[in-house]
């Protein structure tokens, strides 16, 4: 277990290093445009020529690329990444958005896992019948809907035209848990819809595969109740791929994937911070959110792997 831990950690550190290099490529090298063009991009659209010159010097755009890379890394790890449009340090802005993003993601994740499993089981048990077909169609519709459009329409119908729900904005959990949940119900459901459809379909396929396994037939043959066979034998094994999927999706949404839902419902989370920066063509916040988000995902995947290794000794060597 110890060697597994060490190997996994070293691997994660290497990936994080590669992530910083990718961020450097995306924002500084790939768009090109020479030293002034690069500085202008970082400076934002309202920068004066003097600002651009200062940035060109401070970020080392007149120096070789490895110096630029070093300066960028130093800036990011010493909390010196500043938005030149709003003059706010990026890290502190991200920290402010974390409660909203976490509340949104955790709540939505609980909803999508619960309903995803429910939908998957119902449609697998009734495979081929009307309820299964209905669920399949609904799941496909759910997968086909752009989340921001669904958010926009539900917000309009349920919060603006009729006021069943508050019209956007995040309410801190510490101030009033009831108001917190009330403000988040719509965003939770909207964010969960896509995943419910997706998980339901995956689980349905898994269950239908597992049902044909020998041990399930054995369980049936020895006279176990079909409900017990379904829960204890079939579902247990069908859920394994779902658990893997969930680890990745949850980390992805937490690491910035909820940007659309946050923006549409005005939740002031980390994602919305990045989205607002796009409109001002303000790159440093997007750089920060991309990199810290990827770090978070890498970290989370290590934790998930360790958790698996703890649960299932067979995967430790790899």
């Amino acid at each position: 277990m110890a060697t597994f831990l060490i190997r996994r950690t070293i691997g994660a550190i290497l990936v994080m290093l590669a992530v910083t290099f990718i961020v450097f490529l995306i924002f500084i090298i790939v768009p090109g445009g020479g030293k002034l063009g690069t500085a202008q991009r970082i400076a934002g659209k309202n920068a004066t020529p003097q600002n651009v010159l200062n940035i060109e010097h401070a970020w080392g755009f007149d120096k070789p690329f490895y110096v630029q890379y070093g300066l960028m890394i130093k800036r990011m790890f010493t909390n010196n990444l500043v938005s030149y449009t709003s003059q706010q340090p990026v890290l502190s802005q991200i920290k402010q958005g974390i409660p909203a993003t976490f509340s949104l993601t955790i709540g939505a994740a609980l909803i999508w896992v619960f309903f995803g499993v429910l939908v998957g089981v119902i449609s697998a048990v009734t495979a081929g019948r009307l309820s299964d077909r209905l669920i399949t169609i609904l799941a496909l519709v759910g997968i086909s809907m752009p989340v921001f459009w669904l958010g926009l329409v539900t917000r309009y119908l349920l919060a603006e035209k009729n006021s069943f729900f508050p019209d956007g904005e995040y309410y801190p959990l510490t101030a009033n848990p009831l108001q917190w949940a009330y403000h988040l119900i719509l965003p939770w459901l909207v964010l969960a819809v896509l995943f419910i459809g997706f998980y339901g379909r995956v689980l349905r396929g898994n269950i239908l595969d597992t049902i044909n396994e020998d041990y399930v037939r054995t369980a049936k043959a020895k006279g176990l109740a079909s409900r017990r066979v379904l829960v204890k034998h079939v579902l247990r094994n069908s859920l394994i791929p779902i658990v893997t999927l969930f680890g990745l999706d949850f980390a992805g949404v937490l690491g910035g994937g909820a940007i659309l839902t946050e923006t549409v419902f005005d939740l002031h989370g980390v994602g919305q911070y990045a989205a607002q920066s796009i409109n001002n063509f303000d790159l440093p916040p997007i750089m920060g959110v991309t990199m810290y988000g990827a770090f978070f995902i890498v970290l989370f995947s290590v934790l998930v792997d360790i958790f698996y290794a703890y649960l299932d000794p067979r995967i430790r060597p790899t």
């Binding site: 086909s144 459009w149 239908l208 796009i278 990827a294």
Partner: protein, 359 residues
Amino acid sequence: MAQPATETEFTLDTAAELAAEESGAVIRGRSPWYLAWRRLRRNFVAFAFLGLFVLIVVACILAPLYAHHVAHSGPSNEHVLDTITVHGTKVDVVSKGGVLGGKLVASTPVGPQWFAAGGKYVLGADQLGRDIAVRLLYGGRTSLFVGIVSSLICVVAATILALLAGFYGGWLDFVITRFFDLFYAFPVILLGIALGAALAINGIHLGPIRANSGNIMIPTLVISYVLIPYVGRPLRGQVLSLRQKEFIEAAVAQGAGPLRIMFTELLPNVASSILVFFTLIVANNIVLEAALSFLGAGVQPPTPSWGTLISDGQGLIVTRPWFAIMPGLAIVLTVLALNVFGDGLRDALDPRAKVKIEH
């Protein structure tokens, strides 16, 4: 695990075939593609949705006809100060805002006229007096172009990488799979935004690749690039297992070169997967384009796309809800059609994936 499909497939013509066999007739050999086509042919739902997709594509292709002969206005023609005649009365295309009766009133464009204004403003106007129905059709052209072209690029690149990695193995495989893995560390939407935003400002000026900031190829390239790992990784797995099969060994023994093995032996065997991936990736990319454009990191105004239209309509959602709803509906229908057809295609091409029902 699923077993290879060895059981005979009974179809409507099976009886006739058996009779023909008994009387000594020679049975024609059938290619896997023909068998797949025969399975697909029976899937009416998949065909209905393919028809829906074709209908949407044709409608968008005919956008200039609609603009010219029905709406009498191009997608970027502004009519802020114009008036239209509805049932004999004159109506401002964009009502004048200002202080009215002591209250500040925002200027509002006309809502959907359906056919009351003689084909003009069927779905209303936007803040600049542009015809939304025309923009919806032209936006569809942009969205479909970005979705289809980006998927083509993505699938071709992913296939080449997967073939190289799966065929050569060794360090090349190591580099390519690490490249795939690395991009799993970024949420797709965030990577798209990062690239889209960085390239939207001054365009791209990297060696021979040059595009200005408004160029539609920028979001197309960004979207195709972001999804390469998601197609490449599963394909590489397939190539890797095919690589161990006897027919590859036979090809090597015959003296076939790497290129021939990759493109005439391996590629046809993953072609059905590629086709399914392509359909589903087009659906996915249309949504991704809309999301990026909605956030301002995709197609740049004034070019209409379904994403930018939703973004334009967001500000008017309370007074003119149809403005934001219609482009979204267009996306849902298009993507749903592709998803359903893609599902049918997968069932037809890969019988092992067919659901077995046992009660």
